[in-house]
């Protein structure tokens, strides 16, 4: 099972010939001890309410495209791809979908494809600011 572990230079795997094995000590901390501090970009202050902001699927930059299961925008004749959502999703709907629920009016697979599309949004594309605001630590 460990064969596919990423290699770590800090881990000395040579335990033969009496060599001392050196592995980095990892401080696990406590269950309640947060391990991440996030630096909010400036758009955090300009993002609208997460409840009300909207994400089109796809956005204007990909109008007419279909959404593949992995979230990429593909042509309409791509097998397994889903057509445009037909309505914008609110930030709250997307947040719920990212936590395992289904986007309203979509099948489970369709919802997952749309969420994958939203995860791939980049700065400057429709819905990016809304998506980014979903991830702001509160």
């Amino acid at each position: 099972m460990n064969d596919d572990l990423p290699s770590r230079p800090s881990v000395d795997k040579d335990q033969k010939n009496g060599l001392v094995t050196r592995r980095r000590a990892l401080m696990m901390g406590a269950v309640t001890a947060s391990a991440v501090v996030s630096i909010k970009p400036a758009l955090a202050q300009t993002a609208g309410s997460v409840l009300n902001c909207e994400i089109p699927v796809p956005g204007n930059h990909a109008a007419g495209g279909y959404i593949a299961p992995d979230g990429k925008v593909v042509t309409a004749d791509t097998p397994g791809a889903f057509p445009a959502a037909g309505r914008n999703f609110t930030g709250e709907e997307v947040r719920r979908a990212m936590n395992g629920r289904t986007l309203p009016g979509t099948s489970r697979d369709q919802s997952q494809a749309y969420v994958n599309y939203i995860r791939r949004l980049q700065s400057g594309q429709s819905g990016f600011t809304c998506y980014a605001s979903l991830q702001m630590p509160r």
Binding site: M1, N2, D4, L5, P6, R8, V11, R23, R24, A25, L26, M27, M28, G29, A30, V31, T32, S34, A35, V36, V37, S38, I39, K40, P41, L43, M98, N99, G100, R108, Q112, R119, R120, L121, Q122, S123, Y131, A132, L134, Q135, M136, P137
Partner: protein, 94 residues
């Protein structure tokens, strides 16, 4: 069924190691995160495959010296939920 998690894709992240912290820039959200142990190690051992908290705990135990007498699985689970809330890890539908 046990919940599995998948780390954000490699090309979505830019890593920068500091002395005791790791800076992680998440391209899709444009957010920079400062990570302390064990969060960077968790993301590292996850690779690109869906894993449960216990599987990640096993990988950590295989690659690192861990303190004894700690509940590694529950600490990993708590960190996964924290990373999930930030978009650095996603829950894989079961």
């Amino acid at each position: 069924m046990t919940q599995k998690y998948r780390a954000a894709e490699k090309d979505e992240l830019i890593w920068h190691d500091l002395d005791s912290m790791t800076l992680l820039y998440h391209r899709p959200s444009g957010i920079t995160h400062m990570l302390a142990d064990p969060a960077p190690a968790i993301l590292e051992v996850m690779g690109g495959v869906p894993l449960s908290a216990i599987e990640i705990a096993e990988r950590l135990a295989a690659g690192f010296d861990l303190e004894s007498n700690i509940d590694t699985e529950n600490i990993v689970l708590a960190r996964l939920e924290e990373l999930s809330g930030l978009g650095l890890v996603s829950r894989v539908p079961t």
